[in-house]
Symmetry: C2
Subunit: 420 residues, 2 copies
């Protein structure tokens, strides 16, 4: 039985998700799912109930939920043959697409066991994920052009929490993960909305400064990392607050500490070492090293999960090019937890990162409605996947190189190196 | 934490559902839902997990679940305006229809709080149910002609159990309801499958006897009941075991104690008094009395829930004519519990009953593929609903009247009155 104090915090968190996160409009449908496994686990019902309450109070006519408990995903993959992976419940995607087409909003809740499929046949898990990604692509496309307001948040769950805090019992770990989530999303402050207004203002200023510099290239230096990433002409840096095509503002991630833009897909050179493990499709990739030539991954190594990594970057052509570059200082509330969450929503807000796969067209004004070919031509990347991996640390320096060749410090020892 | 003994019984129950109930074929998809509220509550996960395990072991490539926790249905109906009821997640139905079209099987799990919506605006609850029924009709049509193998079962839940056993705590009530479910479905016997083979044989013999009599009319006599129900030419009585169009056998209800057929929609005369309350769309109807002329309900009264009753029988034209007549002896395992379950799957197996709404074409051989007009012409009934209500008791007598006028006893004091 949850305590009343917990229930109050959960309600504040739900209110924050519906107001600051989605900024749900009166009359808007909301559909709740999990982008990684499609459906949310049934253990998230207490949060989902509070979100539904908040959404109905905001005037939503229908809050719809795609559930898909991870225990059932596991049971399936323990039993079926490889060919059976192609049997796919496409009606789930129809729920998402119907909501997008009807002007509704999407909320993805992360709450999965990071090692859900770790001990299963990686070939089967990879096929399962490929089938899933193929079906899900139209939804991802909708999100990367902000066709609708959307948001990604996290909910504690017993199995996930036990991985994050292995020395605690499942119950204590889950309670602690909830406390951490409330802290890093500022939901435990007396006035979370006011705190977010200040936070969004600061991130927006940093994004504006970076956009105004019009860097042609970023240069990363750190242990195992010597990398340059070209940025396309006309790119802009975004942070925290985004807009739908119709001008409706929302915050796509809670928490969010990053300032990000689109790299030029053909202009990444050198090598980079991940500073945190990456969890992909329920499987863990550790000790990741990538080398790039002409934007393309030419060498991919991992101490653990290398097969998963190889499958991931060979999913389609765009999966071996970068689609996002993001800056996060080491003093972010998430980074200050000094905790590995095994979930990119949280871990990507603890460290600078890049993503392979699909790029956000909103980072290249004017590209939202061009053809795929034109987007590629301008330096954008197209793929059916988008996977972040963390490369930031307190030993990472980043410089920006201006058109004339001038070098400006962007980050030093993992912290912002410019004033706003 | 469930005990190991409970988990073992749950697994046997799940095996029974997949083998005797659905008789799931290798390669068949399975989709699990709840016909009344569309989705199953998340508290049913332990049973759903065991069913998934059993189905995968039987060679299913995909077990899909439509969840829709009743707490979320309530939250919605507490907040939305009447017009918002029309916002409907049609993609859920698509999941069911895709499964039917792809040759899959359907499993409906009953586990709802009987008073879920009892204290809400009955007008709103009625509109919600109408919208739901309209969307669901193609699935109901598929079931009434046995396009696929399908089955309806029950799972205990804390709120439902507390209604059934109000003097116990929720936890003890739920444990007791599970024990009862295992008993009345014979899942607690050493060899449940053998027990079902015997049981099915007896019911099938009774059905054959009744079919062979070719009664033109049934006459019901009991307290508050004086009713004749005409039966259409060529009707047959069914029980327990049904067949899909392609000849695949299955058992549509667990438990099932009934022998049933199709009444002639225009030939019900007199009055009938329900002997148990009826729960419809989360609302309770008590003290139900109906009068019929020419098959049509000409008077409908209820001590409680009369508004719900009126909405129900005015849903469409067929909703005020009978679509099913079913015989259940008072010594059935369900009846012996002397318990009101507030759920038709169980209560209908404790007493003789009739249903208003859609009739089963399988009870009129040759009518499975005729037009609706021809089915009506032969005496069948068409409607977007099908709702059972219980009229049996230990004071009910039923006679069958043969073509020549001879009267044969069918039931006396609620028990079978013929040998097989």
């Amino acid at each position: 039985m949850p305590t009343k104090a917990f229930q109050t915090k959960l309600a504040k968190y739900a209110d924050l998700i519906v107001t600051v996160g989605l900024n749900l409009e009166r009359g808007q449908r909301l559909i709740i799912y999990n982008a990684a496994t499609r459906g949310v686990g049934v253990h998230t019902l207490p949060l989902v109930s509070e979100i539904a309450r908040a959404a109905y109070q905001a005037g939503s006519p229908l809050v719809d939920v795609i559930w898909n408990d991870e225990s059932l995903i596991r049971t399936r993959l323990e039993h079926i043959r490889h060919a059976d992976v192609q049997e796919y419940p496409t009606w789930h995607t129809k729920g998402l697409l119907d909501t997008i087409e009807g002007g509704g909003a999407l909320l993805s809740i992360h709450s999965s066991d990071p090692d859900l499929l770790a001990d299963l046949d990686p070939e089967l898990a990879g096929l399962w994920n490929q089938r899933h990604v193929r079906d899900y692509e139209p939804v991802l496309v909708g999100a990367t052009v902000n066709r609708m307001n959307w948001c990604v948040v996290a909910a504690a769950g017993p199995r996930w929490a036990k991985k994050v805090y292995p020395r605690l019992s499942s119950e204590k770990a889950e309670a602690k993960l909830w406390r951490t989530l409330f802290r890093i999303t500022r939901a435990d402050l007396p006035d979370p909305v006011a705190a977010w207004t200040d936070h969004i203002r600061e991130l927006t200023r940093r994004a504006r400064y970076l956009t105004d510099r019009r860097f042609t290239t970023l240069r990363y230096t750190g242990p195992g990392t010597d990398l340059t990433i070209g940025l396309p002409d006309g790119h802009r840096w975004l942070a925290a607050r985004e807009q739908t095509a119709s001008g409706h503002e929302f915050t796509a991630n809670l928490p969010t500490e990053e300032v990000f833009t689109l790299p030029h897909r053909l202009r990444t050179e050198g090598r980079v070492q991940a500073t945190l493990p990456l969890v992909h499709a329920g499987q863990r990739i550790e000790g990741l090293n990538l080398s790039f030539q002409g934007g393309h991954v030419v060498r991919a190594e991992a101490r653990k999960g290398e097969a998963v990594l190889r499958k991931l970057i060979s999913l389609d052509e765009g999966a071996s090019f970068l689609g996002e570059v993001a800056l996060v200082p080491q003093d972010s509330p998430v980074a200050r937890q000094k905790t590995l969450f095994f979930d990119s929503l949280l871990d990507e807000n603890a460290a600078c990162h890049v993503a392979i796969g699909r790029g956000y067209r909103t980072c290249l004004p004017g590209s939202e409605r061009v053809t795929d070919a034109e987007f590629l031509e301008r330096g954008g990347n197209i793929s059916s996947t988008h996977v972040d991996f963390m490369i930031g640390s307190s030993q990472l320096d980043i410089d920006g190189i201006e058109r004339g060749g001038a070098v400006q410090p962007v980050m030093r020892a993992g912290e912002w190196a410019f004033d706003i």
